[in-house]
Symmetry: C2
């Protein structure tokens, strides 16, 4: 299963901002078993993403997504089995008293997008926390269809239990069929303890040409990206995206 | 000489918006001699740019730049020698009663940037009217250092009376040395009579590495671009840029 845990954050306890996401990652790693932490540390594509961000006016949430049952058991259960968890970096307790859980699966994502209502040729993505890619050893912080889709597909193929999506020509075909129709974006730094990484936030409206199969696949991938995140450092809080 | 003519537009006469720019181009072509109009029509890079856009709160201007004396004589003088000009498309007279003229030259642009105060390694460009490029037969409407600089240098080398800037390795060197440090941009369509062209507007902050010579050159090119415009259809009103 894919599991999303959203914890409402209380402003009184913590100074809230997206750059706190990496602190929260630290708190998760303190909470889980050292074996699991070590195992995760070795993986280039991890079976979870998490971030702190604002939804609506002044409501902040800590959103944690696990992309398989193993990660759900080790991370989500470890959090929700407590009434509060300790945020070492802030020397503060966070109450786990107001949260929601939503579960879906790779099968559901497939069924919804390929067998459900016909998907639209337009699709708007909102990048909520700074998003960036590494390409040719350099950070890229301007959106690009190939980099976006390559990142989602890598995560999907690594973590899904179903057939792999990527093949030799797929990325070329996607670049041919999918274009950015409209956008409103800005650069924004994501701060880690000792460094900052340039990313972008904002909206992209995609137009999908080609077959209905291509349309369905892009919708499915973007649906999946809402859980996996896009680009680099999605375990630390970057690359949160929503489909509008 | 490079000449800028800014005519204050009176909202009462005309429904003002940037898409009116192509109508104003039509008015210029009606005003000039048919020989000059025909000659301009044949040129890929024309010695003028013009656009209608808003400055400050609600003040609209019609800005016309000529990049050599021949264009100044045929366009700017033809306009300022009249008390009003007829805008055929709108069946309306435009009063030429409140305008300013500013003159500079390729020599001045060089002297200011290479021999004046040391130029900064940061530079912010504001794209005021929709800006786009043609690359591999396709419209590109997301900023890209190579496309921006290639466009400016083409216009500069075509129109300047001094030495050409472009050489075989220059664009590679620019891409190596100049990067986008921060940005805030959005797509915006530019409307022509029968079609619309996707462009972008907004701000780019550039960081210039490399030699002080490179820094000076980029500043000079962007200064020049304030008169020439950047990218496609600068005679019709696209690609207006200001250095902040």
């Amino acid at each position: 299963m894919i599991t999303n845990l959203e914890i409402a954050l209380d402003e009184k306890n913590l100074e809230l901002n997206t750059n706190m996401s990496s602190v929260m990652h630290g708190a998760i790693m303190e909470l889980v078993s050292s074996e699991f932490a070590e195992e995760m540390h070795k993986q280039a594509i991890r079976p979870y993403s998490q971030s702190v961000y604002k939804i609506d006016d002044n409501k902040w949430i800590w959103s944690i997504n696990t992309l398989n049952d193993y990660a759900a058991k080790n991370i989500i259960n470890a959090i929700t089995n407590n009434n509060s968890i300790y945020i070492k970096n802030r020397e503060s307790e966070l109450n786990i008293s107001n949260y929601s859980v939503y579960k879906t699966s790779f099968d559901d994502l497939f069924t919804d997008n390929y067998l459900g209502e016909k998907r639209s040729r337009y699709l708007t993505m909102e990048f909520i926390t700074p998003t960036a890619f590494k390409s040719n050893e350099k950070y890229v912080f301007m959106p690009d269809i190939a980099l976006i889709m390559k990142s989602i597909i890598s995560k999907y193929d690594t973590l899904s239990t179903t057939t792999d999506i990527m093949d030799d020509n797929l990325l070329d075909k996607i670049v041919e069929d999918v274009s950015i129709a409209e956008y409103r974006i800005r650069s924004r730094y994501f701060y880690l303890e000792k460094t900052r990484i340039p990313g972008f936030v904002g909206r992209l409206k995609l137009k999908i040409n080609g077959s209905q199969n291509m349309v369905n696949m892009i919708h499915m991938l973007v649906d999946f990206a809402q859980y996996s995140g896009i680009g680099i450092k999605t375990a630390l809080g970057m690359g949160v995206v929503k489909k509008l």
